[in-house]
Structure formats: C-alpha cells, structure tokens
C-alpha cells in the first residue's frame, strides 16, 4: 500500500504539531523519530518529491 500523509494540529497548543504526522490511509499517528520504521517510510516518501498535506 502506498501511504499519504498530513500534518496535525496540536490542539493543546494550537500550533502544527512538530512531533507527529498523520498517515492518512490507516489514521495512524507516526512519531517524528528517525528510529521509527514508519517515519523512515515517510522520509522516503518525501525524498521521492511528495509533500504532506497541511494541518487543518
């Protein structure tokens, strides 16, 4: 499956969260952690020229 991504708003602070990104197809919260395999996949996706949607 090819995933797509979206930034999330940290509702507590009211700003775009810098420690998590949403993987849209399964509604997963992927941490911004280079040792997390899903974040590594996200980085590879970005490296292919893709960009995550902005937060609402």
């Amino acid at each position: 499956m090819t995933y797509t991504y979206k930034h999330l708003k940290d509702i507590i602070t009211g700003t775009t969260a810098t420690d998590v990104i949403l993987r849209k197809e399964d509604n997963a919260c992927v941490p911004i952690d280079e040792k997390n395999k899903d974040y590594q996949e996200y980085l590879a996706w970005v490296a292919e020229g893709n960009t995550a949607e902005a937060a609402d």
């Binding site: 940290d10 919260c29 997390n36 395999k37």
Partner: protein, 435 residues
C-alpha cells in the same frame, strides 16, 4: 617363561601370568613406594593411574557422584565448570523472541498478503517483494514439545519471478541484544540457529543472517527431506571478526528464511558460511520457490539463535515472558485474542472529559518500554474496525484524534473535539515500534 609365582611365608602363592597375545606386552612398575595394595576388606588401591583407554561400567567418586552409561548423577553437590558446549551454561540462551510462535497480537490469521509487513505471530515478518500472495496463520500443528507454529500458505502462485523479487520470513534483532557476539573483534562468537520446519515442498532452502550495519551477509542451506513432516534443522555460523554491530536500538542482525528469489540474489559463488557483501551470493541456486503453486505451504517453529557451535534444547519461556518481550516492539490494549479493531470495550482506555474549555486529553503509559517512539492507532469502541475515539455519553465517534508527546514509555492522547466536561471518552490503541 610363561608365569611367575611368588610364594609367601605360608601356603599359597601369587601368580603373574600373561594373557594370550601374539605380540609383545610390557608391564613397567615404578621404582619407588607402594603402588598397589589391598586392604583388609579386599579393596585394591592404586596410588596413581594413567591410562590411554579405560572401559568402566560404573565409576563412583566418593558417595555423591556416579558415572555410568545412563549419565552422570551428582547428588547434593554442586558442579563447577567454565561452559557447556562452548557457550553459556544455562539461563537465557535464545536471542530470538517468540521462537515458539506463542504470541500473535496482530492476528492469528491474515489473508491476502503480498507485501512486506508484520501480520501474524509477533516479531516474525513477511518480506515480500512482488512474489505471490499468502495467508499467514498461527496454527496448532507443531512438533513434540510445541503447540504453535507459523504457516505461510501460498494462495496466488508466481512462477515468473523477476530478477529483483524476493520472498522470506525474517526476524530482526536489536543491536543492544547482540553485543555478546563480539562481532568486529577477533573473539567474534560462533552462533547456532536451530528450528523446526515443515513444508509441502521438499528441496533446498537458504537460511541467511545479515548485518544491517554495512549489509554483510552469511548464508547456508538446509534441506527439507520429507514433505509435510516436521524436521529439526541446525545451522552454525561463524562470527564476523571484521565488522561490528552498533550497540543501539536499531537492526543489528536479521535471521532470514528465504522462500523464493529473483536472479539478482544468486549466480555468484554461494556464501555457504562465508561473510560477504555481494547480493548475488546470498541465495543458493537451488532455492525452492514456495510460490510456485497454491498447493504449497511452509511452516516453522522452535526458532532458537544461541551463542556457541552446539544447538541446545529449545529454551521454553512462559507465555507472559514472551509477550512482554514482544511488547517492546508492539502492544495493544485489547486482550491477546482480540484482533485490533474488534468491537469490545474490554481493556480499553477510558477517561473523563477534563477541560472546561478546550480538548480533553489523557496520558497513555505503555506496558513496557518501547524500542523507540511507536506508531499509534486509536480505535473507537462500539463499532468494529473504526479508528478514532468514542464519546460514550454523546454516543459520538471522533474520527480525528492526535497521539503525540510520544516517547518510549507513553504519549498524550486526545480527540480533535471539545466535548462537554465530564463526558466519558473511550478507545483502544495499538503501539508499533517494530524494527
């Protein structure tokens, strides 16, 4: 002279006579002290014996130790030795987690799988790039001493394997857990991998270990001799004296059971126990293609990786020990037997809307320390396969939620909503920190 008779002070004599022999025999006695004596009970004592070969039916050492064909019995005393089989004596030997396939948190059966992922028994990953489609199942068929195994069943065959395609089942081991191997040093340890395997398809298979630091590979073959019969395989790999394993929480060594491959992975001189970093040496040219027919399946259990050149008996761990080890890489709030997405409230997280103005939130604490910050999915209760969080009082599912401030031990979780204060929010979660 055929005999010597020694006469004492009374009647009778002691006779020394040779056995029948065609060649020469030599009896050399020391030249000092009492060598052989007999006490009043008739027991013969010998001061010292050095022998090349002695055949003894039963040997007793003091009152506690008896050595016989049946074994060594040591009653009420300790045994001191440096090692057994060149490796650690006891305690925890198996570096592989969930080798007996007891734990299956994600599912006990997963159908239609044709891409890489963790689908069934914990820590064992299907690695599939463009070869066939499979059902993975935790099954009860197992050899004596086990009651679970992992089965890979081909449901869509593939006999046109492209050069870059590959198929295997693997388990990655964290660098933190491998420092005892001394890789990168002259003292690098030999390891032994043992496992039970059964398949419809007899023939040659490749077992590979590879180091993720620099992609160093080492492969050997094993043969499945009888179809549909559990067979135990034991394979030993020498240590890598040239390249070390980073002492961290990333992939250190991966144990890779090849099940099919494209031509890119063979054709060179097969590794056959030699460390290398060449792709076309990784798989034996006779490797079975388990995807060649939908009649094919392959099952495995009792996987053990231990230090030393001998395979010891499989180290049976309790279910709880095993699931805690698995939870470093994946945990869920559901009962073990409930697949994530099951419509149940058992084990769910529940908290009261706790902010008068703004978003209510809670702090999750994980069951055990995660390898790294995990990927998180929340599932609403009251419905099946629905991600989100449930407001029990308003009977509403919030499909948008955030789980952040995420570390090895916990995270903050909250719906993207502002429910009335005092309302119950309920959800399940999965936390995935797999390698």
């Amino acid at each position: 002279m055929s005999k010597i008779r020694l006469h004492g002070t009374s009647s009778g004599y002691t006779e020394i006579a040779p056995v029948a022999a065609s060649g020469n025999n030599t009896l050399t006695l020391p030249n000092d002290g009492t060598i052989i004596s007999k006490d009043s009970n008739g027991a013969v004592g010998v001061t010292s014996v050095v022998t090349t070969t002695a055949t003894i039916t039963t040997a007793k050492v003091g009152a506690a130790v008896t050595i016989s064909e049946s074994g060594i019995e040591a009653s009420g005393i300790g045994i001191t030795c440096a090692n057994i089989n060149g490796a650690q004596i006891g305690g925890r030997r198996n570096i592989v987690i969930n080798g007996a396939m007891q734990v299956a948190q994600r599912a006990t059966s997963a159908t239609g799988k044709n891409s890489t992922g963790y689908y069934c028994t914990d820590r064992f990953r299907l690695v599939d790039y463009n070869i066939g489609t499979f059902t993975l199942a935790q099954q009860t068929s197992a050899p004596t001493g086990f009651n679970k195994s992992l089965r890979l069943d081909c449901t869509t065959a593939d006999t046109s394997i492209a050069a870059a395609d590959y198929l295997s089942i693997d388990q990655a081991i964290e660098g933190f857990d491998l420092q005892q191997l001394d890789y990168g040093l002259s003292s690098a340890k030999t390891i032994t991998i043992s496992f039970y395997v059964k398949s419809t398809t007899t023939g040659t298979y490749t077992l590979e270990i590879y180091m993720n630091n620099g992609d160093y590979f080492n492969s050997k073959t094993y043969t499945i001799s009888s179809a549909n019969t559990w067979e135990r395989k034991i394979i030993t790999f020498v240590g890598n004296t040239s390249n070390g394993i980073t002492n961290d929480n990333t992939r250190g060594l991966t144990c890779n059971f090849w099940l099919s491959n494209g031509s890119n992975f063979e054709g060179g001189t097969f590794s056959d126990g030699t460390w290398h970093n060449t792709t076309n040496r990784r798989v034996h040219s006779s490797q079975v293609n388990i995807a060649s027919s939908t009649d094919n399946d392959w099952s495995i259990t009792g996987v053990q990786l231990e230090v030393g050149s001998q395979a010891t008996a499989f180290e049976q761990r309790s279910f709880n020990e095993e699931i805690v080890l698995c939870q470093r890489y994946y945990e869920k709030s559901y009962n073990h037997g409930d697949v994530p997405g099951t419509n149940t409230s058992n084990g769910s997280v529940m908290f009261l809307s706790n902010r008068n103005s703004g978003t209510p939130h809670t702090m999750l604490r994980y069951a055990t320390r995660k390898r790294a910050a995990p990927t998180l999915v929340a599932y609403a209760t009251g419905a099946a396969d629905t991600t989100g969080m449930k407001n029990l009082d308003a009977n509403t599912v919030y499909s948008n939620y955030i789980m952040n401030r995420n570390g090895e031990m916990g995270c903050t979780a909250y719906p993207d909503a502002t429910p009335v204060i005092g309302q119950f929010i309920q959800f399940h979660y999965t936390a995935d920190a797999e390698l």
